[in-house]
Symmetry: C2
DNA sequence: TTCCCGATTTGATCCGGATCAAGGAGTTAA
DNA sequence: TTAACTCCTTGATCCGGATCAAATCGGGAA
Protein backbone atom coordinates (compact mmCIF):
# COMPACT_ATOMS: atom_id res chain seq x y z
CA UNK A 1 0.00 0.00 0.00
CA UNK A 2 1.53 3.30 -1.06
CA UNK A 3 1.43 6.46 0.96
CA UNK A 4 -0.99 7.97 -1.52
CA UNK A 5 -3.33 5.03 -1.03
CA UNK A 6 -3.11 5.45 2.73
CA UNK A 7 -4.08 9.09 2.46
CA UNK A 8 -6.94 8.36 0.14
CA UNK A 9 -8.22 5.31 1.90
CA UNK A 10 -11.27 7.03 3.34
CA UNK A 11 -11.97 9.46 0.52
CA UNK A 12 -15.25 8.53 -1.17
CA UNK A 13 -14.86 7.48 -4.78
CA UNK A 14 -17.09 10.26 -6.17
CA UNK A 15 -15.06 12.92 -4.40
CA UNK A 16 -11.64 11.94 -5.66
CA UNK A 17 -11.63 13.87 -8.90
CA UNK A 18 -14.01 16.60 -7.72
CA UNK A 19 -12.91 20.21 -7.96
CA UNK A 20 -14.71 21.03 -4.70
CA UNK A 21 -12.56 18.44 -2.98
CA UNK A 22 -9.37 20.18 -4.07
CA UNK A 23 -10.17 23.89 -4.22
CA UNK A 24 -13.64 24.20 -2.77
CA UNK A 25 -15.51 23.72 0.43
CA UNK A 26 -14.65 20.04 0.76
CA UNK A 27 -10.95 20.80 1.03
CA UNK A 28 -11.74 22.00 4.56
CA UNK A 29 -13.13 18.64 5.62
CA UNK A 30 -11.38 15.66 7.19
CA UNK A 31 -11.71 12.35 5.36
CA UNK A 32 -14.16 11.27 8.04
CA UNK A 33 -16.34 14.35 7.60
CA UNK A 34 -16.16 13.92 3.85
CA UNK A 35 -17.29 10.34 4.22
CA UNK A 36 -20.35 11.38 6.20
CA UNK A 37 -21.14 14.14 3.74
CA UNK A 38 -20.81 11.85 0.73
CA UNK A 39 -23.52 9.53 2.01
CA UNK A 40 -26.00 12.40 1.80
CA UNK A 41 -25.07 13.99 -1.52
CA UNK A 42 -26.89 13.57 -4.80
CA UNK A 43 -25.29 14.37 -8.13
CA UNK A 44 -27.43 16.02 -10.75
CA UNK A 45 -26.90 17.26 -14.27
CA UNK A 46 -28.69 20.24 -15.81
CA UNK A 47 -29.18 21.61 -19.29
CA UNK A 48 -28.56 25.28 -20.16
CA UNK A 49 -31.50 27.41 -19.09
CA UNK A 50 -32.75 24.97 -16.49
CA UNK A 51 -33.90 26.64 -13.24
CA UNK A 52 -31.97 25.47 -10.18
CA UNK A 53 -33.60 27.67 -7.55
CA UNK A 54 -36.33 30.26 -7.76
CA UNK A 55 -36.48 33.59 -5.97
CA UNK A 56 -38.40 33.35 -2.69
CA UNK A 57 -38.60 29.54 -2.90
CA UNK A 58 -37.87 27.68 0.27
CA UNK A 59 -34.28 26.50 0.54
CA UNK A 60 -34.05 22.76 1.17
CA UNK A 61 -30.53 22.07 0.01
CA UNK A 62 -27.21 23.56 -0.93
CA UNK A 63 -25.13 22.55 -3.90
CA UNK A 64 -21.54 22.64 -4.98
CA UNK A 65 -21.10 23.51 -8.62
CA UNK A 66 -18.79 20.76 -9.83
CA UNK A 67 -18.85 21.68 -13.50
CA UNK A 68 -20.23 24.45 -15.68
CA UNK A 69 -21.52 27.93 -14.89
CA UNK A 70 -24.60 29.06 -12.96
CA UNK A 71 -26.30 32.45 -13.42
CA UNK A 72 -27.71 34.24 -10.37
CA UNK A 73 -30.42 36.79 -11.11
CA UNK A 74 -33.19 38.97 -9.80
CA UNK A 75 -36.18 40.31 -11.67
CA UNK A 76 -38.35 43.34 -11.10
CA UNK A 77 -42.12 42.99 -11.08
CA UNK A 78 -42.42 44.22 -14.66
CA UNK A 79 -39.93 41.68 -15.95
CA UNK A 80 -36.74 43.67 -16.12
CA UNK A 81 -33.94 41.27 -15.25
CA UNK A 82 -30.46 41.72 -13.80
CA UNK A 83 -27.84 39.02 -13.39
CA UNK A 84 -26.18 39.57 -10.01
CA UNK A 85 -23.44 36.98 -10.21
CA UNK A 86 -21.97 33.93 -11.85
CA UNK A 87 -20.90 30.80 -10.03
CA UNK A 88 -18.16 28.57 -11.35
CA UNK A 89 -16.87 25.26 -9.99
CA UNK A 90 -16.20 24.78 -7.12
CA UNK A 91 -18.42 27.49 -5.65
CA UNK A 92 -21.12 26.62 -3.14
CA UNK A 93 -24.60 27.73 -4.17
CA UNK A 94 -27.24 28.67 -1.66
CA UNK A 95 -27.84 31.31 0.98
CA UNK A 96 -26.33 29.77 4.10
CA UNK A 97 -28.80 29.60 7.00
CA UNK A 98 -31.39 31.38 4.89
CA UNK A 99 -34.91 30.00 4.74
CA UNK A 100 -35.81 31.34 1.34
CA UNK A 101 -33.66 32.02 -1.68
CA UNK A 102 -33.16 35.75 -2.25
CA UNK A 103 -32.36 35.14 -5.91
CA UNK A 104 -32.98 32.86 -8.86
CA UNK A 105 -30.28 30.43 -10.00
CA UNK A 106 -30.26 29.02 -13.50
CA UNK A 107 -27.80 26.85 -15.45
CA UNK A 108 -25.91 28.97 -17.96
CA UNK A 109 -24.12 26.05 -19.57
CA UNK A 110 -24.28 22.30 -18.98
CA UNK A 111 -23.98 22.12 -15.21
CA UNK A 112 -23.14 19.38 -12.72
CA UNK A 113 -24.16 19.87 -9.12
CA UNK A 114 -23.40 17.97 -5.94
CA UNK A 115 -26.44 18.62 -3.77
CA UNK A 116 -26.46 18.44 0.04
CA UNK A 117 -29.61 18.60 2.18
CA UNK A 118 -29.79 21.85 4.10
CA UNK A 119 -29.62 20.34 7.55
CA UNK A 120 -26.72 18.03 6.78
CA UNK A 121 -24.51 20.91 5.67
CA UNK A 122 -25.60 23.16 8.51
CA UNK A 123 -24.75 20.50 11.04
CA UNK A 124 -21.37 20.04 9.44
CA UNK A 125 -20.79 23.79 9.50
CA UNK A 126 -21.74 24.00 13.16
CA UNK A 127 -19.14 21.36 13.98
CA UNK A 128 -16.28 22.56 11.85
CA UNK A 129 -14.43 25.77 12.54
CA UNK A 130 -12.40 25.40 9.42
CA UNK A 131 -15.47 25.00 7.24
CA UNK A 132 -17.15 27.99 8.86
CA UNK A 133 -14.08 30.06 8.19
CA UNK A 134 -13.93 28.96 4.56
CA UNK A 135 -17.58 29.76 3.95
CA UNK A 136 -17.12 33.16 5.58
CA UNK A 137 -14.20 33.72 3.23
CA UNK A 138 -16.27 32.72 0.21
CA UNK A 139 -19.09 35.05 1.12
CA UNK A 140 -16.70 37.95 1.71
CA UNK A 141 -15.12 37.20 -1.66
CA UNK A 142 -18.55 37.29 -3.29
CA UNK A 143 -19.28 40.57 -1.51
CA UNK A 144 -16.10 42.10 -2.91
CA UNK A 145 -17.03 40.89 -6.39
CA UNK A 146 -20.57 42.26 -6.09
CA UNK A 147 -19.23 45.68 -5.07
CA UNK A 148 -16.71 45.61 -7.88
CA UNK A 149 -19.58 44.96 -10.25
CA UNK A 150 -21.55 47.87 -8.78
CA UNK A 151 -18.78 50.12 -10.07
CA UNK A 152 -19.12 48.51 -13.48
CA UNK A 153 -22.88 49.04 -13.54
CA UNK A 154 -22.89 52.51 -12.05
CA UNK A 155 -19.94 54.21 -13.68
CA UNK A 156 -18.57 52.41 -16.74
CA UNK A 157 -19.36 52.94 -20.42
CA UNK A 158 -20.80 50.14 -22.54
CA UNK A 159 -17.41 49.20 -24.02
CA UNK A 160 -15.79 49.14 -20.59
CA UNK A 161 -18.56 46.94 -19.25
CA UNK A 162 -18.15 44.38 -22.02
CA UNK A 163 -14.39 44.36 -21.52
CA UNK A 164 -14.94 43.88 -17.77
CA UNK A 165 -17.14 40.86 -18.39
CA UNK A 166 -14.61 39.27 -20.73
CA UNK A 167 -11.93 39.75 -18.07
CA UNK A 168 -14.17 38.24 -15.40
CA UNK A 169 -14.85 35.12 -17.44
CA UNK A 170 -11.21 34.85 -18.46
CA UNK A 171 -10.05 34.98 -14.86
CA UNK A 172 -12.51 32.33 -13.74
CA UNK A 173 -12.28 29.85 -16.61
CA UNK A 174 -8.84 30.25 -18.14
CA UNK A 175 -7.20 29.20 -14.86
CA UNK A 176 -5.92 32.15 -12.83
CA UNK A 177 -3.00 32.46 -15.24
CA UNK A 178 -2.14 36.07 -16.00
CA UNK A 179 -0.18 35.27 -19.16
CA UNK A 180 -1.49 36.38 -22.54
CA UNK A 181 -2.76 35.22 -24.90
CA UNK A 182 -5.69 33.49 -23.22
CA UNK A 183 -8.61 31.90 -24.92
CA UNK A 184 -11.87 30.63 -23.47
CA UNK A 185 -15.51 29.81 -24.13
CA UNK A 186 -18.18 32.34 -23.17
CA UNK A 187 -20.75 30.63 -20.94
CA UNK A 188 -23.33 33.34 -21.71
CA UNK A 189 -25.21 34.32 -24.82
CA UNK A 190 -25.60 37.98 -25.80
CA UNK A 191 -28.90 38.27 -23.95
CA UNK A 192 -27.45 37.07 -20.66
CA UNK A 193 -24.41 39.28 -21.14
CA UNK A 194 -26.77 42.23 -21.59
CA UNK A 195 -28.64 41.29 -18.41
CA UNK A 196 -25.38 41.07 -16.48
CA UNK A 197 -24.08 44.38 -17.85
CA UNK A 198 -27.26 46.43 -17.58
CA UNK A 199 -27.34 46.91 -21.37
CA UNK A 200 -29.36 45.65 -24.34
CA UNK A 201 -28.45 42.78 -26.67
CA UNK A 202 -27.80 45.20 -29.52
CA UNK A 203 -25.42 47.34 -27.51
CA UNK A 204 -23.48 44.30 -26.30
CA UNK A 205 -23.16 43.06 -29.86
CA UNK A 206 -21.99 46.44 -31.14
CA UNK A 207 -19.42 46.84 -28.38
CA UNK A 208 -18.04 43.36 -28.99
CA UNK A 209 -17.64 44.27 -32.65
CA UNK A 210 -15.88 47.43 -31.61
CA UNK A 211 -13.45 45.56 -29.32
CA UNK A 212 -12.83 43.16 -32.19
CA UNK A 213 -12.08 46.04 -34.56
CA UNK A 214 -9.72 47.55 -32.01
CA UNK A 215 -7.81 44.25 -32.05
CA UNK A 216 -8.38 43.61 -28.35
CA UNK A 217 -10.15 40.29 -28.90
CA UNK A 218 -10.69 37.66 -31.56
CA UNK A 219 -14.00 35.81 -31.63
CA UNK A 220 -15.05 32.61 -33.38
CA UNK A 221 -18.57 31.21 -33.52
CA UNK A 222 -19.87 34.00 -31.26
CA UNK A 223 -18.64 32.16 -28.19
CA UNK A 224 -14.97 31.35 -28.46
CA UNK A 225 -12.88 34.31 -27.36
CA UNK A 226 -9.13 34.88 -27.62
CA UNK A 227 -7.47 37.79 -25.85
CA UNK A 228 -4.02 38.52 -27.27
CA UNK A 229 -3.12 41.04 -24.56
CA UNK A 230 -4.85 40.83 -21.19
CA UNK A 231 -3.23 44.03 -19.90
CA UNK A 232 -4.56 45.98 -22.87
CA UNK A 233 -8.06 44.61 -22.30
CA UNK A 234 -7.77 45.49 -18.64
CA UNK A 235 -6.94 49.07 -19.53
CA UNK A 236 -9.98 49.14 -21.79
CA UNK A 237 -12.13 47.95 -18.89
CA UNK A 238 -11.71 51.23 -16.98
CA UNK B 1 -27.97 44.49 44.81
CA UNK B 2 -30.78 44.21 42.30
CA UNK B 3 -31.08 41.53 39.67
CA UNK B 4 -30.33 44.10 37.02
CA UNK B 5 -27.14 45.03 38.78
CA UNK B 6 -26.17 41.38 38.99
CA UNK B 7 -26.62 40.95 35.27
CA UNK B 8 -24.71 44.06 34.47
CA UNK B 9 -21.98 43.59 36.98
CA UNK B 10 -19.34 42.67 34.44
CA UNK B 11 -20.50 44.82 31.54
CA UNK B 12 -17.99 47.59 30.89
CA UNK B 13 -19.35 51.06 31.48
CA UNK B 14 -18.76 52.28 27.91
CA UNK B 15 -20.67 49.33 26.48
CA UNK B 16 -23.86 49.73 28.47
CA UNK B 17 -25.64 52.17 26.22
CA UNK B 18 -23.91 51.09 23.01
CA UNK B 19 -26.06 49.98 20.07
CA UNK B 20 -23.50 47.33 19.12
CA UNK B 21 -23.98 45.81 22.55
CA UNK B 22 -27.70 45.39 21.99
CA UNK B 23 -28.17 44.75 18.29
CA UNK B 24 -24.67 44.39 16.91
CA UNK B 25 -21.69 42.15 17.12
CA UNK B 26 -21.22 42.57 20.87
CA UNK B 27 -24.60 41.02 21.59
CA UNK B 28 -22.94 37.70 20.74
CA UNK B 29 -20.31 38.05 23.44
CA UNK B 30 -20.37 36.89 27.04
CA UNK B 31 -19.78 39.56 29.69
CA UNK B 32 -16.31 38.09 30.15
CA UNK B 33 -15.50 38.33 26.44
CA UNK B 34 -16.90 41.82 26.36
CA UNK B 35 -14.70 42.78 29.27
CA UNK B 36 -11.58 41.61 27.44
CA UNK B 37 -12.65 43.35 24.26
CA UNK B 38 -13.38 46.63 26.04
CA UNK B 39 -9.83 46.88 27.35
CA UNK B 40 -8.60 47.05 23.76
CA UNK B 41 -11.11 49.38 22.17
CA UNK B 42 -10.62 53.04 21.39
CA UNK B 43 -13.51 55.42 20.76
CA UNK B 44 -13.10 58.02 18.06
CA UNK B 45 -15.24 60.75 16.59
CA UNK B 46 -15.12 61.87 12.97
CA UNK B 47 -16.40 64.85 11.01
CA UNK B 48 -18.35 64.46 7.76
CA UNK B 49 -16.00 63.78 4.88
CA UNK B 50 -13.20 62.43 7.03
CA UNK B 51 -11.49 59.34 5.57
CA UNK B 52 -11.70 56.29 7.80
CA UNK B 53 -9.93 53.76 5.58
CA UNK B 54 -8.38 54.07 2.15
CA UNK B 55 -8.57 51.58 -0.69
CA UNK B 56 -5.57 49.21 -0.69
CA UNK B 57 -4.37 50.49 2.69
CA UNK B 58 -3.25 47.88 5.14
CA UNK B 59 -5.97 46.86 7.59
CA UNK B 60 -4.84 47.24 11.18
CA UNK B 61 -8.16 47.44 12.96
CA UNK B 62 -11.87 46.90 12.71
CA UNK B 63 -14.50 49.29 13.97
CA UNK B 64 -18.10 49.19 15.07
CA UNK B 65 -20.10 52.16 13.88
CA UNK B 66 -21.76 53.31 17.07
CA UNK B 67 -23.35 56.45 15.67
CA UNK B 68 -23.75 58.10 12.28
CA UNK B 69 -23.37 56.83 8.73
CA UNK B 70 -20.28 55.67 6.84
CA UNK B 71 -19.95 55.67 3.03
CA UNK B 72 -18.11 52.83 1.32
CA UNK B 73 -16.76 53.61 -2.13
CA UNK B 74 -14.48 52.64 -4.96
CA UNK B 75 -12.93 54.88 -7.58
CA UNK B 76 -11.71 54.16 -11.08
CA UNK B 77 -8.26 55.34 -12.15
CA UNK B 78 -9.71 58.38 -13.92
CA UNK B 79 -11.62 59.52 -10.85
CA UNK B 80 -15.12 58.22 -11.53
CA UNK B 81 -16.53 57.23 -8.16
CA UNK B 82 -19.17 54.76 -7.07
CA UNK B 83 -20.53 54.32 -3.55
CA UNK B 84 -20.90 50.61 -2.93
CA UNK B 85 -22.62 50.67 0.42
CA UNK B 86 -23.61 52.55 3.53
CA UNK B 87 -22.96 51.41 7.06
CA UNK B 88 -25.19 52.42 9.94
CA UNK B 89 -24.84 51.67 13.63
CA UNK B 90 -24.23 48.99 14.77
CA UNK B 91 -22.52 47.57 11.67
CA UNK B 92 -18.96 46.30 11.85
CA UNK B 93 -16.61 47.97 9.38
CA UNK B 94 -13.64 46.21 7.90
CA UNK B 95 -12.91 43.27 5.64
CA UNK B 96 -12.61 40.39 8.07
CA UNK B 97 -9.32 38.50 7.75
CA UNK B 98 -8.34 40.71 4.84
CA UNK B 99 -4.90 42.25 4.75
CA UNK B 100 -5.78 45.28 2.71
CA UNK B 101 -8.98 47.23 2.44
CA UNK B 102 -10.75 46.58 -0.88
CA UNK B 103 -12.63 49.87 -0.57
CA UNK B 104 -12.50 53.38 0.85
CA UNK B 105 -14.59 54.28 3.91
CA UNK B 106 -15.49 57.86 4.71
CA UNK B 107 -17.72 59.50 7.30
CA UNK B 108 -20.96 60.68 5.68
CA UNK B 109 -22.26 62.41 8.81
CA UNK B 110 -20.79 62.93 12.26
CA UNK B 111 -19.60 59.43 13.11
CA UNK B 112 -18.60 57.64 16.28
CA UNK B 113 -16.50 54.52 16.01
CA UNK B 114 -15.42 51.87 18.49
CA UNK B 115 -12.13 50.62 17.10
CA UNK B 116 -10.65 47.19 17.82
CA UNK B 117 -7.14 46.11 16.81
CA UNK B 118 -7.25 43.53 14.05
CA UNK B 119 -5.64 40.72 16.00
CA UNK B 120 -7.79 41.19 19.07
CA UNK B 121 -11.00 40.77 17.11
CA UNK B 122 -9.66 37.89 15.06
CA UNK B 123 -8.65 36.03 18.20
CA UNK B 124 -12.07 36.61 19.65
CA UNK B 125 -13.70 35.37 16.43
CA UNK B 126 -11.55 32.25 16.42
CA UNK B 127 -12.72 31.42 19.92
CA UNK B 128 -16.40 32.21 19.57
CA UNK B 129 -18.73 30.17 17.44
CA UNK B 130 -21.57 32.52 18.06
CA UNK B 131 -19.57 35.54 16.96
CA UNK B 132 -18.36 33.76 13.85
CA UNK B 133 -21.93 32.90 13.01
CA UNK B 134 -23.10 36.48 13.52
CA UNK B 135 -20.37 37.91 11.34
CA UNK B 136 -21.16 35.36 8.64
CA UNK B 137 -24.78 36.50 8.86
CA UNK B 138 -23.79 40.15 8.56
CA UNK B 139 -21.66 39.53 5.51
CA UNK B 140 -24.41 37.49 3.84
CA UNK B 141 -26.82 40.31 4.61
CA UNK B 142 -24.45 42.80 3.00
CA UNK B 143 -24.11 40.51 -0.01
CA UNK B 144 -27.89 40.44 -0.44
CA UNK B 145 -28.00 44.22 -0.21
CA UNK B 146 -25.18 44.62 -2.72
CA UNK B 147 -26.99 42.37 -5.20
CA UNK B 148 -30.25 44.21 -4.63
CA UNK B 149 -28.40 47.41 -5.47
CA UNK B 150 -26.98 45.84 -8.64
CA UNK B 151 -30.57 45.60 -9.87
CA UNK B 152 -31.05 49.27 -9.05
CA UNK B 153 -27.91 50.29 -10.92
CA UNK B 154 -28.38 47.98 -13.89
CA UNK B 155 -32.08 48.17 -14.59
CA UNK B 156 -33.89 51.04 -12.90
CA UNK B 157 -34.70 54.51 -14.22
CA UNK B 158 -33.40 57.64 -12.53
CA UNK B 159 -36.66 58.25 -10.63
CA UNK B 160 -36.80 54.63 -9.45
CA UNK B 161 -33.20 54.83 -8.26
CA UNK B 162 -33.83 57.92 -6.18
CA UNK B 163 -36.96 56.37 -4.69
CA UNK B 164 -34.95 53.22 -3.90
CA UNK B 165 -32.35 55.24 -2.03
CA UNK B 166 -34.97 57.08 0.01
CA UNK B 167 -36.48 53.72 0.96
CA UNK B 168 -33.08 52.34 1.92
CA UNK B 169 -32.31 55.25 4.21
CA UNK B 170 -35.82 55.18 5.66
CA UNK B 171 -35.54 51.50 6.53
CA UNK B 172 -32.16 51.91 8.21
CA UNK B 173 -32.71 55.14 10.12
CA UNK B 174 -36.42 55.42 10.82
CA UNK B 175 -36.30 52.23 12.89
CA UNK B 176 -37.55 49.22 10.92
CA UNK B 177 -41.12 50.44 11.37
CA UNK B 178 -43.25 49.93 8.29
CA UNK B 179 -45.89 52.46 9.25
CA UNK B 180 -46.32 55.66 7.25
CA UNK B 181 -45.75 58.50 7.46
CA UNK B 182 -42.03 58.29 8.21
CA UNK B 183 -39.61 61.12 8.34
CA UNK B 184 -35.84 61.10 8.52
CA UNK B 185 -32.64 63.00 7.82
CA UNK B 186 -30.68 62.22 4.64
CA UNK B 187 -27.09 61.41 5.62
CA UNK B 188 -25.90 62.14 2.06
CA UNK B 189 -25.71 65.30 -0.01
CA UNK B 190 -26.79 65.34 -3.65
CA UNK B 191 -23.29 64.52 -4.86
CA UNK B 192 -23.01 61.41 -2.73
CA UNK B 193 -26.51 60.35 -3.70
CA UNK B 194 -25.47 60.66 -7.35
CA UNK B 195 -22.37 58.55 -6.70
CA UNK B 196 -24.45 55.88 -5.01
CA UNK B 197 -27.07 55.85 -7.76
CA UNK B 198 -24.78 55.99 -10.78
CA UNK B 199 -26.26 59.35 -11.82
CA UNK B 200 -25.20 63.01 -11.86
CA UNK B 201 -26.01 65.65 -9.26
CA UNK B 202 -28.35 67.43 -11.65
CA UNK B 203 -30.35 64.31 -12.42
CA UNK B 204 -30.71 63.45 -8.73
CA UNK B 205 -31.92 66.96 -8.02
CA UNK B 206 -34.44 66.88 -10.87
CA UNK B 207 -35.79 63.47 -9.87
CA UNK B 208 -36.20 64.57 -6.27
CA UNK B 209 -38.18 67.57 -7.50
CA UNK B 210 -40.29 65.24 -9.58
CA UNK B 211 -41.02 62.94 -6.63
CA UNK B 212 -41.91 66.03 -4.62
CA UNK B 213 -44.29 67.20 -7.35
CA UNK B 214 -45.88 63.76 -7.46
CA UNK B 215 -46.59 64.13 -3.75
CA UNK B 216 -44.55 61.07 -2.82
CA UNK B 217 -42.22 62.98 -0.52
CA UNK B 218 -41.93 66.30 1.30
CA UNK B 219 -38.50 67.82 1.77
CA UNK B 220 -37.30 70.59 4.05
CA UNK B 221 -33.81 72.13 4.00
CA UNK B 222 -32.68 69.69 1.31
CA UNK B 223 -32.08 67.01 3.91
CA UNK B 224 -35.17 66.40 5.97
CA UNK B 225 -37.48 63.97 4.19
CA UNK B 226 -41.04 62.97 5.01
CA UNK B 227 -42.71 60.06 3.22
CA UNK B 228 -46.50 60.16 3.63
CA UNK B 229 -47.04 56.73 2.05
CA UNK B 230 -44.20 54.20 2.13
CA UNK B 231 -46.08 51.68 -0.01
CA UNK B 232 -46.58 54.27 -2.75
CA UNK B 233 -42.89 55.15 -2.71
CA UNK B 234 -42.05 51.47 -2.83
CA UNK B 235 -44.17 51.07 -5.96
CA UNK B 236 -42.35 54.03 -7.50
CA UNK B 237 -39.01 52.32 -6.75
CA UNK B 238 -39.65 49.54 -9.32
C1' DT C 1 -27.56 18.56 -49.11
C1' DT C 2 -31.67 22.08 -47.92
C1' DC C 3 -34.86 24.20 -44.87
C1' DC C 4 -35.88 26.32 -40.71
C1' DC C 5 -35.39 28.94 -36.66
C1' DG C 6 -33.28 31.16 -32.96
C1' DA C 7 -29.14 34.01 -32.10
C1' DT C 8 -26.41 37.63 -33.65
C1' DT C 9 -25.12 41.61 -36.27
C1' DT C 10 -25.94 45.92 -38.35
C1' DG C 11 -28.60 50.14 -39.59
C1' DA C 12 -31.82 54.18 -38.56
C1' DT C 13 -34.01 56.83 -35.30
C1' DC C 14 -35.35 58.21 -30.64
C1' DC C 15 -34.97 59.57 -25.87
C1' DG C 16 -33.32 59.59 -20.92
C1' DG C 17 -29.85 61.26 -18.60
C1' DA C 18 -25.24 63.78 -19.18
C1' DT C 19 -23.16 68.04 -19.92
C1' DC C 20 -22.87 72.94 -20.05
C1' DA C 21 -24.54 77.08 -18.04
C1' DA C 22 -26.90 80.23 -15.00
C1' DG C 23 -29.17 81.52 -10.91
C1' DG C 24 -30.77 80.98 -6.04
C1' DA C 25 -30.18 80.03 -1.01
C1' DG C 26 -27.75 79.15 3.12
C1' DT C 27 -23.24 79.70 5.73
C1' DT C 28 -18.90 81.59 7.30
C1' DA C 29 -15.71 85.47 7.68
C1' DA C 30 -14.52 90.17 7.57
C1' DT D 1 -23.58 94.75 6.22
C1' DT D 2 -21.12 92.45 2.02
C1' DA D 3 -18.07 89.08 -0.07
C1' DA D 4 -16.84 84.58 -1.05
C1' DC D 5 -18.03 80.05 -0.79
C1' DT D 6 -20.54 75.68 -1.14
C1' DC D 7 -24.59 73.29 -2.23
C1' DC D 8 -28.72 72.89 -4.67
C1' DT D 9 -32.05 73.84 -8.40
C1' DT D 10 -33.47 74.76 -13.01
C1' DG D 11 -32.87 75.53 -18.05
C1' DA D 12 -30.85 74.41 -22.78
C1' DT D 13 -28.51 71.33 -25.53
C1' DC D 14 -25.99 67.10 -26.58
C1' DC D 15 -24.96 62.27 -26.96
C1' DG D 16 -24.58 57.26 -25.61
C1' DG D 17 -27.26 53.67 -25.49
C1' DA D 18 -32.31 52.15 -26.18
C1' DT D 19 -35.63 51.02 -29.46
C1' DC D 20 -37.38 49.66 -33.84
C1' DA D 21 -36.31 47.21 -37.98
C1' DA D 22 -33.90 44.34 -41.23
C1' DA D 23 -30.39 41.34 -42.75
C1' DT D 24 -27.20 37.48 -41.88
C1' DC D 25 -25.18 33.64 -39.52
C1' DG D 26 -25.11 28.95 -37.65
C1' DG D 27 -26.80 24.72 -36.02
C1' DG D 28 -30.09 20.94 -36.11
C1' DA D 29 -33.59 18.03 -38.53
C1' DA D 30 -34.95 15.49 -42.45
Amino acid sequence: MTIKALNDVEIPQVCRSCSARHDGMCASLTPAELGVLATHTRHTHHRPGEALAIESDEITSYANVTDGVVKLSRVLRDGRQQLVGLQFAPDLMGRLFGTESPITAEAASEVDLCRVPKLVLETLVAGSNELKRRLLDQSLQELDEAREWMVTLGRKTAAERVASLLLLVASRTAGGSEASPVSFELPLGRGDMADFLGLTIETVSRQISKLRNEGLVTIENHRHVTVPDLAALRRRAG
